[in-house]
Amino acid sequence: MEYYFEAKKMSVGYQGRPLISDIEISLKKGQILTLIGPNGVGKSTVLKSIARQLSLIGGVIFLDGQSLQKMSGGELSRKMAVMFTEKLKAELMTCEDVVATGRYPYTGRFGLLSETDRQVVRKAMELIRIMDIKDRDFTQVSDGQRQRVMLARAVCQEPEIIILDEPTSYLDVRYKLEFLSLLQQMCREKGLTVIMSLHELELAERISDKVLCLDGKYVDRFGTPEEIFKAGYLRHLFHISSGSFDEENGNMELEAPKGKADIFVIAGGGSGRMVYRRLQRQDRAFFTGILFDNDLDYPVAKALAQNVFAAGAFEAVEEALLKEAKKQIDACRTVICCRERFGSFEAANRELAEYAVQTGKELIMAYEEKS
């Protein structure tokens, strides 16, 4: 198997002291690697070491079969582009000027741009869609715009591999998606290899071919998103103690309300999620059911409810479960019904709603409520 980028026994750190040791990475051309891990764990240090900003403390990196350390600065600059969190200093430079600095490795002795260079700059700006701000002062544009100018600059450099340190941190949701789509497009069309750190785990899960999890002194895991984003893993990696992260859906939930629950939420088919979250905001503990364990509401219920009455997907609801749920309703004061009408497989929930009425519970119809 031919790898484009390989790190073997790589140790990174400052002043000869290793921060993270024995990092092993192997990437094929056109793949995207994402580094995830808690704040301050050394993601930037790893990226800086890969970009040769810091010398390696141990190990070797191969780029296209060549040792990265032995490459000349000029050679490396034509293969690798970078985008750090460190701001690029641009005094009296327009956005176009900044993009044009990406052509540096290709210009002559005095760094004058040729007609080809200008065209490449133009194309990069068109690709990233920043033509409208090209004449604006780089220091005067917004953080999000600046980020995109920096990407255009990197594109201009015509690299084979690009190193990005939290490239999406300043972008709003539209530009986040646009940015990552562009990366994906370049990977597919130009065989660009990407190594980046991301804070947005749900995005990391979606875009990465490989994920490197850093925790403490060693690499915790390295693998495909399917291998990494297993239930409960992120809780372990990020030492999450309040709230939860659902690896399968990329959902984040705040901490479940504590205390005695006296509300029962009848939900299903995704109708309950917003109600659960509202109750969480109001710090009111609740029970919910009866949900099939493949229901849209199920992961949120799992994260927020004190108890979830759940049945196996595509299975009939057992009598025992129904009984238990009724018993729970007995102990509650309020029942919130999120279902406007019950489908033929929701007979159990209809029965629960009727039971609530019979036993004289306060029944709130969540779909009618506007407040």
């Binding site: 970009a51 900003q53 600065g73 200093k89 600095t101 005095f110 760094g111 005067q140």
Partner: protein, 342 residues
């Protein structure tokens, strides 16, 4: 595209303006003074035709070499300032304010006193060498400080302090040296273009011109360095090598100035900033020659005032440069505060 052309027109305009100003001030410096000399006289003098002996002497032996020196050293000073500003990413860095000029002054004074006491003639090369080692000494201290503090104003304050220490030492040795040349030394240690000869002018032209050429050849890596170290390194720049080159070149330029004209204040800060505003860009390939021309104009202008304002009394050149330069520094600081606030 039109906008691109506008920029080119602007650059061309600035260079024309600076070039013409250099010529005008050069002529003014030769014409004006306690003895007025007409253009026709100058022409006759330069063509080597028959002229009045006094006029010939004033033009050829006094004013012309002095004006040329002011032009060369002024350019060198502005260029040294530009290099230091780029090096420290600090808009108010300069050879004078960082104490580099004072360090050079100190060593030159020591060497001069030592040699004069033994009645050894001080050669141009020895002077420049002494000034260079002094400049490097101060630079070393400043670098040490810049490692410890990463703050624009603290760096400047430490430079000013180094300058004070060096000046104090210089004053001390000048006071206790018992030589007739002390008066000369005293006026030099305040900064002055007076007493320049063709020999001086030739030597400094060679040194400054060569240094200028080398700096100009560095304009591409400098442009990458301006973006910040991380990005420069990614562009394949050998940061350490470039930094050493910048230190040596700026010290050499500062040394050359101090060796001949003593320490001159504010030119190194004010001129690059003014030129940058004129050009509307910080690109080294334009800034390097423009700074040089700007420095020449500024020093020619200031020397003209120093000689003529209260003639026959001559003002110290730093007195004049400070009057015009210090407000520029204040303006820069206010401007920077504003930019930070945005």
């Amino acid at each position: 595209m039109r906008w691109q052309q506008n920029r080119k027109v602007r650059y061309l305009g600035v260079f024309l303006l600076l070039g013409i100003s250099v010529i005008i001030f050069l002529i003014c410096n030769i014409c004006m003074g306690s003895v007025e000399i007409s253009l026709a006289d100058i022409e006759r003098c330069l063509m080597g035709r028959e002229t009045d002996k006094t006029v010939q002497r004033i033009v050829w032996d006094i004013r012309f070499p002095r004006a040329v020196s002011a032009m060369i050293l002024g350019g060198a000073l502005a260029l040294a300032g530009y290099l230091l500003q780029t090096f420290f990413h600090n808009p108010i860095a300069g050879p004078f304010i960082l104490g580099i000029s004072s360090g050079a002054k100190m060593i030159v004074a020591l060497v001069m006193i030592f040699l004069l006491e033994r009645s050894i003639r001080v050669s141009s090369a020895a002077l420049i060498l002494a000034a260079f080692s002094g400049a490097m000494l101060s630079m070393g201290f400043v670098l040490l400080m810049s490692h410890k503090v990463n703050n624009m104003s603290t760096l400047i304050v430490s430079g000013v302090m180094i300058g004070y220490i060096c000046s104090a030492v210089t004053e001390l040795v000048v006071t206790f040296a018992d030589d007739a040349d002390i008066i000369n030394l005293h006026s030099w240690s305040q900064g002055s273009f007076s007493g320049m000869t063709w020999e001086h002018a030739k030597a400094m032209t060679v040194v400054v011109f060569l240094t200028f050429l080398i700096v100009f050849l560095f304009s591409k890596p400098l442009s990458a360095y301006q973006l910040g170290e991380g990005y420069a390194r990614n562009m394949g720049i050998h940061i350490r090598g470039l930094r050493i080159a910048m230190i040596v070149l700026s010290s050499l330029l500062s040394a050359c100035i101090v060796a001949y004209a003593g320490p001159i204040s504010f030119v190194g800060i004010a001129v690059p900033q003014l030129v940058k505003s004129l050009l509307g860009t910080a690109k080294p390939i334009l800034m390097i020659p423009a700074c040089f021309l700007g420095g020449s104009v500024f020093c020619l202008f200031c020397d003209l005032l120093a000689r003529n304002l209260f003639a026959p009394t001559e003002l110290g050149i730093s007195t004049v440069t400070a009057i015009f330069g210090a407000p520029v520094v204040l303006w820069i600081m206010v401007k920077h505060k504003k930019e930070r606030a945005v």
